[in-house]
């Protein structure tokens, strides 16, 4: 295979892998809190997606498609692991989920912990949107399309999330 000439579809798919592998991996990592599991799920995401092409179908929007398949893989993982769903993380899970080391020293780490404490108090849909918007860098329109919501609604939810984080952190509008 390595030496053989790739078809246009294969090249396109591998290019999509190069572009979105980190995004998919990150998504899986945030949802499973395990690098090893995230690696497996990312791989499964791409193999399942390839099977979609093998079955004779097309992928119009790789980003959205891969994201959907990754979500399905994550749900399957939790269904096999235990009878709970993606959105039903326990407190312990949430704690693990956001226990992500960041650079920036002790002060930033403390601040991070505080933000994450408030972050996990948000409703799951708000957390999801904030991750998509500010971690994955999705545009509001993209999030709206993904969630089948209106862009205005998503904007409102983002503002509401930030407002709630502010309130939780004791930050007034004046200081913000």
């Amino acid at each position: 295979m390595s030496g053989s000439k790739k078809t246009a579809q294969e090249s396109q798919f591998l290019a999509a892998y190069e572009t979105y592998s980190d995004v998919i991996f990150r998504r899986c990592f945030f949802k499973t809190s395990s690098r090893e599991v995230a690696l497996e799920l990312a791989q499964e995401t791409f193999t399942r997606s390839w099977e979609h092409l093998v079955s004779g179908k097309e992928i119009q929007n790789y980003k959205a498609f891969l994201f959907t398949v990754a979500n399905r893989c994550i749900i399957d993982y939790y269904k096999k692991k235990r009878p709970r769903y993606e959105h039903e993380f326990s407190e312990e899970d949430v704690e693990k989920l956001f226990d992500v080391p960041v650079d920036g020293g002790q002060e930033l780490h403390a601040e991070w912990q505080e933000v994450m404490r408030c972050f996990k108090q948000l409703e799951s849909k708000y957390r999801e949107i904030m991750l998509l918007r500010y971690t994955e860098g999705w545009a509001v329109e993209e999030i709206a399309e993904h969630l089948k919501e209106r862009a205005n609604t998503v904007s409102v939810w983002i503002s509401r999330s930030i407002q709630r984080l502010r309130t939780c952190l004791g930050v007034t509008n004046a200081t913000a």
Binding site: M1, E10, E18, R26, F30, A42, G56, R72, P83, E111
Partner: protein, 492 residues
Amino acid sequence: MRKDILKLLAELRKVALTESERVLLHDRLERYIAMRPVRSDGINRLPIREEAMGSNDDFSSFDPVPRPRRGNRCWEHGDPAIGGLASSYFTPNYLISLFKDKRMVTLTLALILALGGSGTVAAAEGALPGDTLYPVKVSIVEPLRGLANVSTEAEAEWEIRLAERRLDEAITLAARGRLDAETRASLENSITNHEQSAGTYIASLDASGEAQAAADLQFDLDSTLAARHNVLSTISLALETGEPTMARTVDAGASAKGFGEAKQTAQEESHTLITLTATAPASVDLGADAEVGARAMTATDSKVQSTTTLEKATEMGVKAKTKLEAATKLYNSHAVDLSARFKLEVEEHLVAARDALAAGNAKLKAGVFAEAITKFQDSIRESETAEVLIDAALDVAADLGIDLDFGVDAPVRVEVKTGTETTNPTPATNTAPKSEPAKYPATTTSSGTMNTSLTGKVSGGGVSGNTGSPTNASASVNTSTNTSVESSTRHC
């Protein structure tokens, strides 16, 4: 601070694949693509055959994550339990390719006819792992039936049904004490594959904008999973402890007279008043609830809540109510046949279904449609579990040779009180087939029971197509204002 918050969230972007991980995944993906190439004619006919013949491409290290949707199916890998290497040629895609090649159509049909035509096919449908015709069932009959699926939705439904079939086989084998570790692992693998395939199709549907169909199928898959999981657990436990699933147990060598005596005893013991819904929830009046919900929606947040959600919740509520009524009716018809343990299990699920239905109604009235849908789905799941449990118990009883026929001489009379209205029962006409003498002992050894590792994984199965319908009881439920369903069973 806002900037800090957003900056901190952006820090999460630093989570990424390492270079070695990226290369590793890329390499695996390339090899996977080589194994499963996209053919220009859309037919993927060669990979498995190449693999079977010994491809030079060593895939031993390609493990275990990349599970090809079709490539990992048991019949494609020549699972010894269901047909060995020969079955690996009968992949669905390969069969499709046969039909695309017109020269092969005649040969394929001739092959089917050579196997005995429709009679063989019909016989194969009832085959179990280890039976001679089982490879025909899973490698030919089912893939051929699968060819009829022309849409992604149909494919997903078919995969769910296949998962159910495999679990059905597991339950039957467990009841007969024939579920050894190898067969169990094979079935478990097959069920997992079908579940994954269904999941892939559902994801595909979702991605193509058919979110509603995807959600419905996902719910179907989930409820199937939950219901069958519970049934397997109960059956396994009952068999492990040697408890009967039915009210009567029959020794393997019991004579016809023995059956008669067992039936008589069961009839005498069945004068039990079953009150499932002493704590029954409030009435189920979805029409009125929908109106209340609609008003609440309009008054509170009409911009956010759509009428689609209201319709969905109402539709789900009606489904939940219908399902519960069907399960209750089935239970009333067969309560007398069930052992105390199974009766208790079923009652628990029915009560849970009623509670969930009531909770769903409350949410609907309050205009919280999403939560109402969840509650209604819970209710459907519980009702489904109760139904499958009853079906499984009846099926196991049939396998054990228990005569469920109360016949004309002793019809079961069931009364279902529905609040202010009671339907007078009529003598039932028996449609249950006469059972054969017991072939298998009523109690099985632990080796013949379903392991919990299987129950934790498997999804489909259940007992389809058995005597689950309440044919020997004429009961009806007031579907408009059913506040309490009190059932009593007794014999005329």
